[in-house]
Amino acid sequence: MFNLPPPDILLQLSLNGALGGAMYGVAAVGLSLIFGTMRLIFLAQGAMIILAAYFVRTLFYGLGIDPFLSLLIVVPVGLGVGWLMYQGLFRKAAAEEDRNVSLLIAVGLMFLVQNLMTVIWGGNTAGVVTSYTASGIELLGVRTSFTRSMGFLIALAGTGLVMLFLRKTMVGKAVRAASEDMDAATLMGISPHRVNAIAFAIGISLAGAAGVAVATTFPFNPFAGFIFSLKALVALALGGIGNVTGALAGGILLGLIEAYVQYFISGGWTNAIAYGVFLLVLMFKPEGLFTRPYKKA
């Protein structure tokens, strides 16, 4: 067995893990919404996050707009892009019983976006360096990165807003009804295309918010998004598919697992163990770690 490190290092590890994992979480919340109404694993989510990151970078270096301030642009643009993306790309395929067509469109979209980004911004690693990129703040008695903490706040706020929308608004309730039983919801007058488009709009705007967090925290390249899609998928499985807060919690848990593996075992094992946990959860607790299964009548 390994020796337990001193508590301040453990705290530091946990904090870094949780802050980083929140970004997987916010990507997973988007996946969860889209999966909820469409039963589609939207594999292009990661590519959309990176696209948003490049957009944020262009706004910063081109127009001098602060990356965090650009949330005010990226989130509404994401809503619009998501809505149009559904109407243009997925609407017809969504009417089919078979989800494979939608899945293939998502994969095609992912490759298209990746390669378009390469053409526009080049394949090299890019980043956003601001006056506060290297600055840190004191949290729980431990020093941590300012941008990571902001990313965490963005993830919390994004998930919180989505929760409020789903619980308090009638449109949100329609999305929940459709996620639970599309046929019954349809016969109650809920248009499948409407709720699918809403799920896409919110999913892509969350990708936009995640893009801000990524751009300010990590260096990125056009192909970095796929890993995000995979990690978001793991977070989704941990949290329980169709459970929004669970998706965020799953992301944070995944971040913690990665941080601990990196410290206690080795950086090389991080991904192998993350995907191993993914498979174990799907095999033994497919409803997720944070959901209690209930019997259907």
């Binding site: 009638m170 309730k173 329609a174 929940r176 639970e180 019954a184 016969l187 007058g189 248009s191 009548a297």
Partner: protein, 245 residues
């Protein structure tokens, strides 16, 4: 009955799945405020008929008319706004929501997106089925019979003219069945709805309905009063098998 009074009319409806004919040349007319029982052995095509009426399936041939308008092939989400609501054989309430939220979905979306009187409508529908006290209960925690009641409340809240009930008594005990009969009668008398009611419990249908339609192998073999239907030779054969020659 005057033709313009007919609420729902199926004209020579046929539904095939590949080579299998599930509904064949079915004509049905439902008038205002009628309570019609729809019975038939397993596989007679009762559920398919509901799915054709609610536009989940497009009929292979024939037409569905509602209030004199051809509604064959409209988008299923428009059906409830036109005034047709249904319940399901396997209850399909939204389990993660409260009873009140379930009924609100019907009151808002089923009635075409108006929010103004939705709360009143939803409360009235819960009252009608006797679930007022359970309004804030998550549906996942409710009993089967309460969920069946809730499905009826959700359908009624969408302000339909025609209510399709798909085996509302399945899985209920005698006390609950009596409660269900009372609710169905109240829905008809207090709300003035027409009801087309699929049921396996034939005795309940015969007691409550003034008109009974019998389907067998996708064809309508009888349509009349309970007395006429029970004396119909084809119906007896469908349920008991052909008499030994």
């Amino acid at each position: 009955m005057q033709p313009d009074e007919t609420l729902l009319r199926l004209e020579a409806v046929q539904k095939r799945f590949g080579g299998l004919v599930v509904l064949n040349n079915v004509d049905i007319a439902v008038g205002p405020n009628e309570l019609i029982g729809l019975i038939g052995p397993n596989g007679a095509g009762k559920s398919t008929l509901f799915n054709v009426i609610t536009a989940i399936y497009a009929p292979t041939q024939g037409r569905v008319l509602f209030r004199g308008k051809d509604i064959t092939g409209v988008a299923p989400h428009r059906i409830s706004r036109l005034g047709i609501a249904r319940t399901f054989q396997l209850v399909r309430t939204f389990l993660t929501m409260t009873a009140f939220e379930n009924v609100m979905v019907g009151a808002v979306y089923g009635a075409g997106g108006r929010v103004k009187y939705a709360t009143e409508t939803a409360n009235a529908a819960l009252e009608l089925v006797g679930l007022t006290a359970q309004g804030d209960m998550r549906t996942a925690h409710m009993t089967l019979s309460d969920r069946r009641m809730l499905e009826i409340a959700r359908a009624v809240a969408s302000d339909p003219a025609l209510l399709l009930l798909d085996e509302p008594m399945a899985g209920l005990n005698p006390t609950e069945i009596q409660r269900m009969v009372d609710v169905i009668r109240r829905v008809r008398t207090e709300r003035g709805l027409s009801i087309l009611w699929v049921e396996h419990k034939v005795d309940a249908i015969m007691k409550v309905c003034s008109r009974v339609i019998v389907l067998d192998h996708g064809e309508k073999i009888a349509d009349g009063t309970p007395r006429e239907v029970t004396q119909n030779r084809k119906v007896i054969e469908a349920y008991l098998g052909e008499p030994a020659a």
